[in-house]
Amino acid sequence: MDRDKLAEALFDTACSVLEEGAYVLVDPPGEEIQASSGPAIAARVEFHGHFAGALLMEVPEELALEMAQNMLNEPDDSEGAARDAVKELLNMVCGSLLPAIAGTEPEFAIGAPEEVGRGEVDAAALDADAVGAELSIDGRGVRLALLTKEVGT
């Protein structure tokens, strides 16, 4: 799969998962994303199997809290819930993305998502093998980076 198609798959899958899993609405493409220097929660998950790689996601902390509350359908402003929500949503994006790229026959082992420092998504996106995507949710940016090794075209 070429890089453009990978980027499209990443964007579409992330939109679908965040809308269905976190009950948020992704803004139409082209909407302006506010520059954010506020706190954010980032996580990374590694996978291997048919091919190997990693997926990273960064979510503004305020948005992560909203997602957690949506998922739980109750107010829970604990940082723990927000962090758990980001890691679990990343897990879901990865689980949906891999068959979207490789089909439903190949098997993958997806590791446990881990929280990483803010800026790791940026760093990952600089990798020559990386593909990135950015979604806007109420003007707030959710950023993803996919690192892969030897994806078939």
């Binding site: 269905e20 976190a22 998922m71 723990g80 026959e105 446990a112």
Partner: protein
């Protein structure tokens, strides 16, 4: 009749979501047990009767596949219906799990009614909101 339900997932938010879904579906719950991995799940089942287990696959310590294999090899535990709730996308792996006795598979992210409908199919209808 009330059912004892076991939720096995390393994500607290997912355990809470599933528990909430079960409650909203009107399932008559006796006990709701939660475990973070397969080892904890086996400990719960050693001391408590469980009518249905909802099991994630990717978990530390003991993953869902290992738990399912341990349950199918146990004379008592093999009777406990298992529903896998997972991000797993490989039909090859899903079919293998069905052959190990898994009753149903729910893909994350799931709609609440998916959990409800799967539980109805296994536990039978109950007098609750449909």
């Amino acid at each position: 009749m009330a059912f004892n339900i076991l939720i096995v997932d390393d994500s607290r938010i997912t355990r809470d979501m599933i528990a909430k879904t079960i409650k909203m579906a009107g399932v008559p719950v006796g006990e709701m047990f939660r475990a973070e991995n397969g080892v904890e799940a086996l400990e719960v089942m050693e001391h408590n009767w469980v009518d249905l287990a909802l099991v994630d696959l990717n978990m530390p310590v003991m993953d869902g596949v290992s738990l399912i294999e341990r349950m199918s090899a146990d004379e008592d535990l093999r009777a406990v219906p298992v529903v896998v709730v997972s991000t797993e996308g490989s039909q090859t792996k899903i079919e293998r799990l069905r052959q190990k006795g898994v009753k149903a598979f729910v893909h994350k992210p799931f709609a609440p009614e998916e959990i409800r409908d799967v539980m109805r199919g296994i536990l039978g209808d109950w007098d609750g909101p449909g």
